[in-house]
């Protein structure tokens, strides 16, 4: 999962990025409003953490611009303004959640995950495909009741595919959602990770779940 953190306080943005990365997220940072808006409009994110008090354009304005352009990415407002009035204003403009500073980091992660789940229409943190279970809370996967050890990147790719199961995901989309934006990467890396995942998930099972769609990408689905 890839998130954008728009926060002018660099120390805060950096520690959030570090923390989210340790939760298998990929995070881009923007320290001012205009850049933040540009990034949110240009790249595809699974969620945006948006500070309200920003130099340039403020968070509320960024949010309403995004919603005006029908960019429906989940937005979590992060702000020092804790007044109920401000929180309502944020939610009315289309924010998915409102987190007053200072916050508990684990709670922030949980709320980001929950916002993403709600957005993809999957209220449960467990994604089940046949006998494969992906737990987006603990970042673990099981197949047939057996834990599958996964590296952080492998898990990220699996989670993205599982969150969009039964849909073909291109290599580019996968890269966009599991790597930082300015990460210059050969899309073959994805093929390598897909191979690792196949070995761990499908090996030894009769019904394969990860499929290659020639010329399009990959799909995670049950075979009939």
């Amino acid at each position: 999962m890839k998130i954008l953190i728009v926060e002018d306080e660099k120390d805060l943005a950096n520690i959030l990025k570090k923390g989210f990365e340790e939760h298998s997220f990929v995070a881009d940072i923007s320290n001012d409003g205009e850049e933040g808006l540009y990034m949110a409009e240009t790249y595809s994110y699974d969620a945006i953490i948006l500070d309200i008090m920003l130099p340039g354009i403020d968070g509320i304005e960024i949010l309403s611009q995004l919603r005006k352009k029908h960019i429906d990415v989940p937005v979590l407002m992060l702000t020092a303004k804790g007044e109920v009035k401000d929180r309502i204003a944020g939610l009315e403009k289309g924010a998915d959640d409102y987190i007053p500073k200072p916050f508990d980091f684990q709670e922030l992660v949980a709320r980001v995950k929950s916002a993403i789940r709600r957005n993809t229409g999957k209220p449960s943190p467990l994604i089940v495909i046949s006998n494969l279970v992906v737990d987006t809370n603990t970042h673990t996967a099981q197949r047939g009741g057996t834990d599958i050890p996964l590296s952080a990147k492998e898990y990220s790719i699996l989670e993205y595919l599982a969150s969009h199961k039964n849909r073909v995901i291109s290599r580019t989309e996968l890269i966009e959602h599991v790597y930082e934006t300015d990460f210059d990467l050969d899309s073959n890396v994805i093929d390598v990770y897909i191979n690792f995942l196949r070995n761990k998930i499908d090996k030894g099972f009769k019904n394969k779940l990860i499929h290659t769609v020639r010329g399009a990408g990959y799909i995670l689905k049950e075979t009939e």
């Binding site: 306080e9 120390d11 520690i15 020092a80 916050f103």
Partner: protein, 469 residues
């Protein structure tokens, strides 16, 4: 009732009531007596001419006094109790009397003596006539043909008095009625002309801190109230601005404090989430230390500002302060920082200037100016402090070789928590210039700034100097 008389309405009514009553009653009384005078003196004139006629009718014929008969003494004088009477007494005997008297021995001059004319021996009496009617009687004593003659002429006053009575009755009823009507009208007028005041007061009482942007309607008001409303609205403008500024400061302060708390908290949360190599703990602790130091600076500055705002810079406690001494102290305090950054501080003093003020606070103000000048200077730059006099005032300037301030930011640099894009990343509370400004203004001074981006800024502090004696 007590309340009514305390109100403007009540007082207006009371004054109008008293004044109108006094005027009407006095003029009623004056008119009554004036009319009475006119009536009485016209009767007296008639009696005078009667008397002359009667005198002219007295003759001596063949050694005998005779009262000539004439048309003049016929008519009314012959009708009994007609109110026209005369009587002539010679040698204490009734010589002639009008038949209207009925009984010619009736003493018509038995009443009160009203006036007496010594020279002409004329007296006037207010008396009762034979028909018990009020009469006015003129008596003249004269000597005719060597014989003492006393003549009386009288006229009834019944008609005149009844006219005067009617006048009095008219006044007795009309004056109180007029007073009551004027009283009611004055209350109504007062009520009507003061009714905008009630609206005004309810308008004012409806304004609270929640709707401080509401204003009182000034259009269509009377001139006095319009002035009042306008002044009131101006006061509301000032209040609203102060209130908004206060609100913004609280909101800014909460942002300025909550964000570093969030940084500290998140560093702790993330770092403690799992076992890490020692280096990462050190990094996190460094971040936390720096952030809390920054917070500490903000808290100190905020508390200082709050103290300044609450008026602790008391003019009464001011004493003569030597400007160069404050400046020297400030330089000493900022020296380590300046050496770290390789910034050179020069000071030139044209002449020693004393001002009336608080030494510590002036030093604080200068220190804030100097810290900015050093912090935002270029490496190996300089700060020039210049103390001089201009236009009878003390002038102290800080010129730096820093990055300068953009035009857009220039008007906002004294705002609390304002930090330009360039200075955001650096340490600082965003309150230093606000503190300096508050202190200088409490000393009846002002701060001016000139800046050229890329070249540097000059901050000039102007203070009233202490008169030399």
């Amino acid at each position: 009732m007590k309340l009514f008389l305390k109100s403007i309405k009540g007082r207006l009514f009371l004054w109008i009531f008293i004044v109108v009553s006094l005027i009407l009653i006095t003029s009623g009384v004056l008119v009554y007596y004036e009319v009475k005078n006119v009536v009485v003196s016209s009767v007296d004139e008639v009696l005078h001419s009667d008397m002359q006629i009667f005198t002219g009718l007295l003759h001596v014929k063949r050694g005998k006094v005779e009262f000539e008969f004439s048309d003049i003494i016929s008519g009314d004088y012959t009708i009994p109790l007609s109110g026209h009477y005369y009587k002539i007494i010679i040698n204490n005997n009734v010589f002639a009397a009008s038949p209207s008297l009925v009984d010619n021995t009736y003493d018509i001059a038995s009443g009160r003596l009203e006036s007496f004319d010594q020279k002409n021996k004329i007296s006037i009496y207010a008396s009762k006539g034979p028909g018990n009617e009020p009469i006015r009687v003129m008596r003249q004593d004269l000597t005719m043909f060597g014989i003492p003659v006393t003549m009386f002429a009288a006229r009834s006053m019944a008609e005149s008095f009844s006219m005067l009575n009617r006048l009095m009755i008219f006044f007795i009823f009309s004056i109180p009625a007029t007073i009551i009507i004027i009283g009611i009208v004055s209350v109504l007028i007062a009520k009507r002309s003061l009714s905008p005041l009630d609206k005004f007061s309810s308008d004012i009482s409806n304004i609270t801190h929640r709707n401080l942007s509401n204003r009182i309607e000034t259009l269509g008001q009377s001139a006095e109230l319009q002035g009042l409303s306008e002044s009131f609205n101006q006061m509301l403008d000032r209040l609203e601005r102060a209130f908004e500024a206060e609100k913004r400061i609280v909101s800014d302060a909460s942002h300025e404090l909550k964000t570093p708390v969030a940084v500290i908290r998140s560093n702790c949360d993330v770092t403690l989430a799992k076992e890490r190599p020692a280096g990462e703990y050190i990094d996190a602790l460094q971040k936390i230390r720096n952030t809390s130091a920054h917070m500490g600076k903000i808290v100190t500055d905020m508390l200082l500002l709050a103290r300044l705002d609450s008026g602790s810079v008391a003019f009464a406690e001011f004493s003569p302060v030597k400007l160069s001494e404050c400046a020297n102290n400030a330089v000493a305090l900022v020296n380590v920082l300046a050496q770290d950054r390789g910034v050179e501080i020069n000071m030139s003093v044209d002449e020693e200037i004393w001002v009336n003020g608080n030494k510590e606070q002036l030093t604080e103000a200068f220190l804030n100016m100097l810290e900015n000048a050093v912090n935002y200077n270029k490496a190996n730059g300089s700060v020039d402090i210049h103390i001089t006099k201009a236009g009878g005032k003390a002038v102290l300037s800080f010129a730096d070789t820093g990055s300068g301030i953009s035009k857009a930011d220039l008007s906002r640099i004294f705002d609390r928590f304002f930090r330009s894009e360039e200075t955001r990343s650096k340490a600082g509370s965003g309150l230093g210039l606000s503190i300096a400004k508050t202190i200088i203004e409490a000393h009846s001074g002002e701060i001016k700034v000139k800046s050229q981006p890329g070249i540097g800024s000059i901050f000039t502090l102007i203070l009233p100097q202490l008169p030399e004696d």
